[in-house]
Every structure is written in structure tokens, then in C-alpha cells.
């Protein structure tokens, strides 16, 4: 009798494995505590145009942001031990074509040399957060830097691979607009999600990318610009992702899975009943 049911031997195994798998999935570790700041930035999907030239647009107050801590740049010389910008609030949106990222941070004075930058890994190779500096055992990739400065009023689209290789790209794809008010800078960077330029980060909705931040307080102290060049506030890599559009096909698959499992059971139980009465 059992012989005719040989294939059924795998059923309990499947059921057991499935149950164990799910139980473990539920017992999974919770996401890391956010007390030290955020770990990722979400670009919310919006309808219509993105607020690329309006740091005060109502769109920004309708979404949640992230907050990242910053450090005085003490990683490579020339260092700086104390900086003005200690943390930054960041929000992002996209509409499937264009993206806009708002950075908001405290800086008591508005100065021509004030600056803000976003840095991204480009391509498949990992790049060191400090300008894609050379790594000794791993072949690194380049970084794409979007650099806004108050005195130019716009953003430069730049590339780097190593400290001495920071250069302005031939194809400029990034815009930026900054507004200073009551000790707070709000700067919006914008770009198309995808560009034709292989030196640029390509932001495909649904895919994770790495982003880092840098800020310069260009105030004049004792006749010198306080923060410039490598003397700035920095972060290391955090994650960024443009929200993918809602995908309802997943519910179809869930129903399919349910139906398949139920049909499977039906067949098994019928076979078993027949087998046992035979």
C-alpha cells in the first residue's frame, strides 16, 4: 500500500520545512535602532512635477525625511576638528523621470563660500566614501559628486576616483537651488533619475544606491574661510532608494500560491484516502 504512495513521502517534509522557514522568518532580527540617525533615504513617488526649484514647496512638508549625523573631516589631511553643520535633514521625491532631494541644515550665517554636496557610488564596483580613494585589496569604482555652492548659485556635476582626481564632468546634468532663512539652509538638488552619462549615478526606482553628504560653512573667521576643501562636515555611506511604483501583480502571485497549495492538499488527501481504503 505504501509503495503506491512513495511520492507522498515528501509531503510532510515540505509542510514541516515551510513551517520552520516561516517561523524563522518571523523570528528574524528587527531593523537596527535609529537612535544614531537614519540609515537610508527614501525618494517618495509623486504625481506631476518635482519641486526642483522650490525648497519651500508644500510637497516637502507632505513627506517624511531622514536625518544623518555629520562628523568633522578627520579622515585625511588637512583635517578639521570642529565644524558648523552637525546633522542634516534630507527629503526626496521622484516622479518616475526626475528626482529632487532637499537638504536642510543649520548654519547661522549666509556666506558666499557656503556649500553642500551629495556623493554617490557609480556602477557596480564599491567605491570608498572618501572621494573613491584607492583601496588596497579591493578594486574600487568611481563616485559622482553633486556640488552646490552659494556663490555660483548652481550645482556642479563632478566625478572622482581618488583624492587627486576630482573633476567637473563634461556633461552637466544636475541643478540646485539654495535658500537661506533664519539660520537654516535649504538646498534642493535635482536631476533625471537616469542620464546618458556613464560617469553619473543612475537611480533606478526600486534599487538601492549609496549616498554620502558633505557641508562647508564658508563664514570668514580671522580673515580666512572657516571650512573649505577637505575641511568640511562629512558622513560615510548611507543608503538611498527611489520608491518603486506599486506593483499589484504580487497579490496575484499570493493568490496563485494559496490556490496551488490548496489544490496540492486536495490531491494528497484524496490519494491517501483511496490508498488507505484499498
Amino acid at each position: 500500500m505504501l509503495n503506491s504512495l512513495t511520492f507522498l513521502r515528501t509531503v510532510p517534509l515540505l509542510v514541516l520545512l515551510g513551517t520552520v522557514n516561516v517561523a524563522l522568518g518571523l523570528a528574524n532580527e528587527p531593523p537596527p535602532a535609529e537612535e544614531t540617525g537614519s540609515v537610508s533615504l527614501r525618494l517618495y513617488q509623486v504625481e506631476g512635477s518635482v519641486p526642483s526649484d522650490d525648497p519651500n514647496s508644500a510637497v516637502w512638508s507632505s513627506i517624511e525625511g531622514s536625518e544623518f549625523k555629520l562628523a568633522p573631516q578627520v579622515h585625511w589631511p588637512p583635517r578639521i576638528q570642529e565644524v558648523t553643520v552637525k546633522s542634516v535633514k534630507v527629503k526626496g521625491v521622484h516622479n518616475g523621470q526626475e528626482l529632487a532631494i532637499l537638504v536642510e541644515y543649520n548654519d547661522p550665517t549666509e556666506d558666499p563660500a557656503d556649500g553642500a554636496a551629495l556623493e554617490f557610488m557609480v556602477g557596480d564596483k564599491q567605491a570608498h566614501f572618501a572621494h573613491g580613494q584607492e583601496m588596497l585589496q579591493v578594486e574600487g569604482g568611481p563616485v559622482n559628486i553633486w556640488f552646490w555652492k552659494k556663490e555660483t548659485g548652481n550645482a556642479l556635476d563632478m566625478s572622482a576616483k581618488g583624492f587627486k582626481n576630482l573633476k567637473t564632468q563634461e556633461k552637466q546634468n544636475v541643478q540646485a537651488k539654495g535658500v537661506w532663512e533664519n539660520g537654516t539652509w535649504k538646498v534642493v538638488f535635482s536631476r533625471s533619475l537616469i542620464t546618458e552619462d556613464e560617469q553619473d549615478v543612475q537611480i533606478q526606482p526600486g534599487e538601492w544606491r549609496s549616498v554620502a553628504f558633505a557641508f562647508w560653512d564658508g563664514a570668514i573667521v580671522d580673515g580666512l574661510v572657516k571650512e573649505k576643501g577637505s575641511q568640511k562636515a562629512v558622513s560615510s555611506w548611507w543608503y538611498i532608494r527611489a520608491e518603486p511604483s506599486a506593483d499589484n501583480s504580487i497579490y496575484v502571485w499570493v493568490l496563485f500560491g494559496l490556490a496551488l497549495a490548496a489544490a496540492f492538499e486536495l490531491v494528497i488527501v484524496r490519494k491517501l484516502r483511496k490508498g488507505q481504503s484499498a
Partner: protein
């Protein structure tokens, strides 16, 4: 309730509890996927054992077959059977959902904190004697170069620490330098984050490559100052054997 199924279940639960709850008391917790793999391995072992001979096969599978077919079962048995029959498709549906649902969580990171050092750094010993002058000098250099990140109290809480992920190591924690030999620190300080192999995720580390600014002598003395200040001692060769 006795028999091979019961025994098998006890073993599985035991393996799970051991891996998930007991092991982390002694070492770093295992990722859930690995725990799953080990439990699945244990399960296949039990299955193979249970189905080795015809009689053990019947002993193992018979009750399951009878349970699923629902023949001659009491009320409680029928309820349990119904529950299993309803639960299984739901679990499959739930599995499908969790596997396909877009996650808002960034990719999980499995950074190896203490990867193997390159061969030329293995077994080096500190050439400078552990005398107060050297320790003092090491501490002074530490205060100048390392404390902005690793903290004046050797606790990883320097003023620059909050911006970096991973955070600067906390030397007063028994999980860092107390686990390491001096030669390992020499490598890490000399080559910095960029010197890590791929499993150490060098692209994320803010640890500077100090060979560009500090002599070997300074580095060895800093190591002395670091252990002394953090109230730890290096792991020695004898313990390694």
C-alpha cells in the same frame, strides 16, 4: 505521545533553541538564514534516519499519513487536521508575499569585523619595551591622532564618531583590541580601512591609513598607549595555540 516523530521534533526544537538563543550568549548571533540552513540539515538527517528501513519508514510516516487522511479520528484529531490543512496554504501565501513584497529595509550587511590580516603582518611583536616613557608617548600620539574618532576615553565616542558607519571601534569593549594581537593592530593602524579585504567592506571604513602620516615607531607606541588607556591587554601567541 511517543515515537520517532516526537523525538525528531524534540531534536529540531533543541537545535533551534541552541542556535538561536544559547549560542549568542557566547558568541555573535548567527544570521537567521544560517540557522534555517542548520535546522533544515538536522531535519533531513532525522528524515534519513527515520526512513532507513521499511519498518522505521512505516513508524515514521504511518501516523502522518493517517493524520492527513483523517480516517477514524476523534474530534480533536479532526480539528488539528483541519487546522493543518488550512494553515499550510496560508503559510505558502504568506511566504510568497514576504518573498515578493518590496522591502523598505536597505540590504543586510554582513561585515566581518576582524578579517584575517595579510601574511606579512602575522606574528610581528612590538619591538619597543613597555616602559612608562613609551606608553606616555603613545598616549600623547593617541590623543592627537586617534581621539577625535575613538574618544579620549578609548570608548569610541570621539566628537567625529557620529558621522561614521561603521562607528569607530570602542577599545574599552572586550570585543575589540582585547581579542587581538599587537601585530593585528599594527596592520589595522598602518593600512587603515582601505587596507581591509572585501569581507571587511573597506569602502565604508573611516579608519585612516596611518602609514601615510605616522612612522612604525609611533604606531607601535600608540598600540602600547591604547592598551594601557583602555585597560586591556593584547591577546598573546600562547593563547592562540
Amino acid at each position: 505521545m511517543k515515537g520517532p516523530i516526537f523525538n525528531g521534533a524534540i531534536i529540531l526544537v533543541g537545535v533551534f533553541v541552541f542556535l538561536k538563543f544559547l549560542l549568542p550568549l557566547f558568541t555573535a548571533p548567527l544570521p537567521a538564514s544560517l540557522i534555517y540552513l542548520y535546522v533544515a540539515l538536522a531535519l533531513s538527517g532525522i528524515m534519513i534516519f527515520g526512513t532507513m528501513s521499511a519498518s522505521s519508514l512505516e513508524a515514521f510516516m504511518g501516523p502522518i499519513y493517517r493524520f492527513l487522511s483523517g480516517k477514524g479520528q476523534s474530534g480533536v484529531g479532526q480539528m488539528a487536521r483541519l487546522a493543518v490543512l488550512v494553515l499550510f496554504p496560508l503559510l505558502v501565501g504568506w511566504q510568497t508575499y514576504t518573498k515578493l513584497a518590496p522591502s523598505d529595509l536597505p540590504p543586510a550587511e554582513n561585515r566581518t569585523i576582524h578579517p584575517a590580516p595579510p601574511g606579512e603582518f602575522v606574528g610581528l611583536s612590538n619591538p619597543y619595551p613597555k616602559v612608562p616613557e613609551n606608553i606616555m608617548m603613545g598616549k600623547g600620539l593617541y590623543a592627537a591622532y586617534c581621539s577625535p574618532c575613538h574618544g579620549a576615553n578609548f570608548d569610541g565616542k570621539g566628537p567625529a564618531a557620529p558621522g561614521f558607519n561603521p562607528p569607530p571601534a570602542n577599545f574599552s569593549d572586550p570585543g575589540t583590541i582585547a581579542q587581538l594581537q599587537e601585530s593585528y593592530l599594527f596592520w589595522r593602524i598602518k593600512k587603515g580601512g582601505v587596507g581591509l579585504p572585501v569581507e571587511g567592506m573597506p569602502w565604508k571604513s573611516a579608519m585612516p591609513r596611518w602609514e601615510e602620516e605616522l612612522s612604525d615607531e609611533f604606531i607601535w607606541k600608540i598600540i602600547m598607549g591604547e592598551y594601557d588607556g583602555a585597560h586591556q591587554s593584547p591577546r598573546t601567541w600562547e593563547e592562540e595555540e
